[in-house]
């Protein structure tokens, strides 16, 4: 029963991404939305953790939230997929349940 995890906080502000990565099972999906999109960026102190997580998890980032914040796709960690709201909806359908790390 795979889970889609949603993260809406910057990993530099709160620990929701770190906690999610600790408690997500192999094969789960994670979508970074709202301020969570900063967790998808390369070249920062959190990137290595996220890159490592990609071997067990599928990670997605919500494009409209990236664009709003001036985060270009070229700044996103390789292997993280950019989706729109339609893609977000599809992820909630493909997984059995959604765990929002509020």
């Amino acid at each position: 029963m795979p889970t889609l995890h949603t993260i809406n906080k910057s990993p530099f502000d709160r620990n929701s991404l770190q906690t999610c990565l600790r408690l997500a099972n192999k094969g789960a999906a994670v979508i970074l939305i709202e301020d969570g999109v900063y967790g998808a960026m390369k070249g920062n102190t959190v990137s290595a953790t996220v890159e490592k997580a990609l071997s067990d998890l599928s990670i997605y980032v919500l494009g409209p939230d990236m664009k709003a914040r001036g985060v270009d796709e070229s700044k996103i960690i390789d292997g993280i997929k950019v989706v729109d709201y339609k893609g977000f909806v599809d992820l909630t359908v493909e997984n059995d349940k959604i765990n929002a790390w509020l």
């Binding site: 939305i33 409209p64 349940k97």
Partner: protein, 130 residues
């Protein structure tokens, strides 16, 4: 697929209700059903028609109302959370002796059981909050 949506934050302090709006629109466009949108915590502030944002700003309350009318959505504001925060419909106005009400079109005030029911009846529950 049938979705239940929970919104925990007010319309302008936090992006959660905008994300929920866009998610609901995309789900409807993809042919899914929205069983109910349940507004909890400060999310109840999405349901006051007294909201008057500047003209160049998004009108989140009206966006919910319009979406509800177009797609016959069930927008439910939690009564306990609403009472704490001064969101009032005609029934609540009468029960609590208030001098008016402020509920926006398309919204209704009801109990927390409506959220639990959304969890039971929906194929997916998606929570937007802080």
């Amino acid at each position: 697929m049938k979705f239940g949506i929970q919104v925990n934050e007010g319309p302008y302090n936090h992006e959660a209700s905008v994300t929920a709006l866009n998610f609901v629109r995309a789900a409807l466009e993809a042919g899914h059903e929205i069983f109910r949108v349940f507004f909890y915590h400060d999310g109840v502030n999405n349901g006051t028609r007294y909201t008057t944002p500047p003209q160049d700003d998004i009108h989140i309350v009206n966006s919910w109302s319009e979406l509800a009318e177009k797609h016959n959505l069930d927008l439910v504001v939690c009564v306990a959370a609403a009472q704490r925060r001064g969101i009032v419909d005609e029934g609540e106005q009468e029960r609590n002796g208030k001098d008016g009400n402020n509920i926006a079109p398309g919204f209704r005030i009801s109990g927390l059981g409506q959220l639990i029911e959304a969890g039971i009846q929906s194929d997916r529950l998606v929570v937007f909050g802080d």
